[in-house]
Symmetry: C2
Subunit: 255 residues, 2 copies
């Protein structure tokens, strides 16, 4: 089994070399721009899940790339002036700030459609179903955020972040053809990852959970989320050493 | 076999009663608003194709609704201020004008994701693949339009309009489980429909082909497109009487 860094490099190379739909023409440039520079956390989880479930990671590459494209879609649209109005992303101009607002909208649309095209290269609809469900949850979360109508912080993050992390595990299982009846312990693990990622993100950015719970309180919440993820992982009947490394990495990351 | 009007009513009722994803919450209102009032041309073609191919039209309803949702997605985003900046659509406020720009962007995103969710209710990925390909073509067409970089009018319309009309036939075939090796004559028919629809649209609106070719010239082009569609249909080994009615309706429509 390959290390998280090896799996990340595999995903990075695949996303970088992705053949986009020719009909997109010169719009492709904005899609490449929007997908560059990510940490590939979701892709790595997907690949590690597939390997832990007994498949070649390579088999899960289209699913892993599709997850990164959905993630990129959500960032590109969230950054738009009418939503979060962010001119910067990953230390450079956000997609709309670089290419204009019209291209920002179209690039996000195309990223989502390309994600489905990739997910649909599998012989069954399972990967694409995971993706559709997660995307709808994310959009519901962004709606709660934009309108300020979230009932509470956990609900907001379960939708905005948690859905796609859970789908990262789900897509890995689907790509590895793990039967539905064997998926429950894996999925219980996947459900814990998004919250862990979000709390640590907020600690690093000094917002969200770091504001609502203080730095120490947020750190405690993150440690508890990591512990729950490790417990769930212990219940998965497979060699989950690499996934455990990923959990440790998410809990202790500094960027 | 049911008439075009009966099939249209079937699609209308199905789209109207569609259960949207609960996680979308109150965003659902904007999706319902955006999908109300369409002519259901694409859905009707899909249902008629499925019936002509020997399946129950009901089997093709999720595919037909998915086509309408993709169409609605494209209208909602095209109307945005950064793109066509249209405040009106179908005789009332466009979705962003009614709900604000942020909701307009999210509603479009959700319509596209819901379309895939519906297309993915089939046991095979065939319908969803049609949809992904057509959506990417449409976005490529909108990019050419927005940037004014289309090499010519037919290329622009083949992408912007033609792709989704062709997919309406393709989705009907997929829903009816027509084997790939038998699809060629049907697809040749589907490829003619988009152009016919677009030219008549331009005649009714007094723009596009009506401007570039004059009213009489555009009428002649529309008649030729209708003739080609009828010829292609004659080569389809099935009872295509209803599809022929749809071609006649598209050629002579006045609204």
């Amino acid at each position: 089994m390959r290390s998280p860094d090896e799996l990340r490099a595999l995903a990075e190379a695949y996303v970088g070399d992705l053949a986009l739909t020719p009909e997109l023409g010169a719009l492709q440039e904005s899609l490449r721009y929007a997908t560059a520079g990510g940490k590939r956390v979701r892709a790595t989880i997907c690949l590690a899940t597939a390997e832990a479930a007994g498949a070649e990671a390579e088999r899960a590459l289209p699913a892993a790339a599709a997850l990164e494209l959905v993630h990129a879609f959500s960032l590109v649209h969230d950054d738009l002036p009418a939503l979060d109005d962010d001119r910067e992303r990953r230390g450079r101009a956000s997609t709309w700030a670089r290419f204009g607002e019209a291209i920002g909208i179209l690039a996000g649309d195309a990223l989502l459609a390309e994600a489905f095209r990739l997910a649909l290269t599998y012989p069954t609809p399972a990967v694409a179903r995971e993706l559709a469900q997660a995307t709808l949850g994310m959009i519901g979360g962004q709606y709660l955020d934009v309108t300020g109508t979230a009932p509470d912080e956990p609900t907001l993050h379960r939708l905005k972040t948690g859905c796609l992390f859970a789908a990262s595990v789900g897509c890995g299982l689907a790509a590895a053809d793990v039967p539905d009846r064997e998926q429950a312990p894996w999925r219980a693990f996947g459900d814990e990852l998004g919250l862990l990622f979000q709390i640590v993100d907020d600690i690093l950015d000094g917002d969200g959970y770091a504001l609502s719970h203080g730095a120490d309180g947020a750190r405690r919440l993150a440690d508890e989320a990591a512990d729950r993820a490790r417990e769930r992982l212990a219940a998965v009947p497979a060699d989950t050493a690499i996934l455990l490394e990923i959990v440790d990495g998410l809990a202790t990351r500094t960027a």
